[in-house]
Symmetry: C2
Subunit: 238 residues, 2 copies
């Protein structure tokens, strides 16, 4: 049985965290909205009455009769099925906790260019975005990266993974966040990278994993662009 | 064994979602930071080296040797232990999905009064807050409430619970969100309430549950105030 991933077809966005997990797992999946008429099918699935498990927004994943929404929740599900998280309760929750903290960071990255409303154009909230992005790069970004640096340093199995000695979906997500931050805030990340060597090394290591490297080199990987969560505006990256 | 809840002692904030679950479960717990020197103990626990499961921020919960952070993750843990979520995989994930969507709403409520930076005073981002709150009450609030109204209406077991026919932590959290919104945005909620009768009835019903009613009437319930996530500023509630 193939997974069906439903996400906006032209951006990495939150769907990318799910794509990376599916790719690392070598799991068969269809990226539904990227096929012909796919976006229509996604919206029909989302607003349809086929399931009472209504998603609030993409991404959501269909597997057999289950419809699962919320990025971190999808990863909780996939992590257990594909060995991308520890089986024992404590490790499973710890991995999920890290993912939820990454989700908080991702929401803050989005709001750095859309501090007033997701429904408004960037140009209509540019002044506010400058203020918010300045606060983000000065305070929030170092706080989050410092946190993950500490988590890596404190791992009893060494600083090569966030959880234990194996790759989890949290590692894949931290890779993605660093990749996105380097696209969106190259100057801020150049400074920050030096102070967070474990984080940067994890990013490099995940990118080199065979299935991830193959995925990144394929047409399945949508390039970063100015429609997604990670956007590069010169004026927001001092 | 008692649970130890670590959260800021003077606000409901995100800790309140955990308090409500513990109260409904009748689980013995200590609200650590509210005791003498408690805030100091919380910060020591948070920055200490006793566990490598470092929390990013309060709330976090200690149980035996486990330290669990991220509100929704704590509820995932408590839900399974205290029958506040279905045991089967599909229902467990669905409950968690709803909680994560509530968490997104809570983050947007916070940012309605702090759109530029959590580290800045409200007064220093008042102009931006007015714009963001207008967008929030016009677009985001109805979207979220409409979503939960649809979920209740689509529940095959009837619109009295979000998940199946029993109270889950998602119900408790939706109660709390509605209570907070009524405090923060009384005008907007008066309009919105009429259009979302299932949501409003769920709020009333949860408030009347014996353990929740007893909790709400006790000194353990911190009143809403202008330091928490839900704050009332006249100018943000048109």
């Amino acid at each position: 049985m193939r997974y069906e991933l439903y996400y906006w077809p032209s951006i990495q966005g939150r769907g990318e965290f799910v794509r990376l997990a599916l790719e690392e797992a070598g799991a068969p999946y269809v990226d539904v909205a990227r096929a012909k008429n796919g976006e229509k099918r996604m919206l029909a699935q989302m607003h349809g009455r086929a399931s009472h498990f209504l998603p609030f927004a993409p991404p959501f994943l269909k597997f057999e009769r289950q419809l699962i929404g919320q990025t971190a929740n999808i990863l909780l599900f996939l992590g257990a099925r594909h060995g991308l998280a520890p089986k024992a309760d404590a490790g499973r929750l710890w991995t999920h906790q890290l993912q939820l903290t990454l989700a908080d960071l991702v929401a803050e990255v989005h709001d750095a260019h859309h501090p007033i409303g997701a429904g408004l154009y960037y140009e209509d909230q540019r002044r506010e975005a400058k203020r918010r992005a300045a606060d983000f790069t000065a305070h929030r970004l170092p706080k989050f990266l410092g946190y993950f640096e500490n988590v890596l340093a404190a791992n009893p199995r060494g600083p090569t993974h966030l959880v234990g000695g194996r790759t989890t979906y949290a590692d894949l997500s931290l890779f993605q966040v660093v990749a996105g931050l380097e696209y969106a805030f190259p100057k801020a990340m150049k400074r920050a990278g030096r102070r967070h060597p474990h984080v940067m090394r994890l990013h490099t290591r995940v990118a080199a994993r065979p299935r991830i490297a193959a995925y990144l080199a394929s047409a399945r990987r949508i390039p970063f662009n100015q429609e997604g969560i990670f956007r590069h505006y010169e004026e927001l990256d001092r």
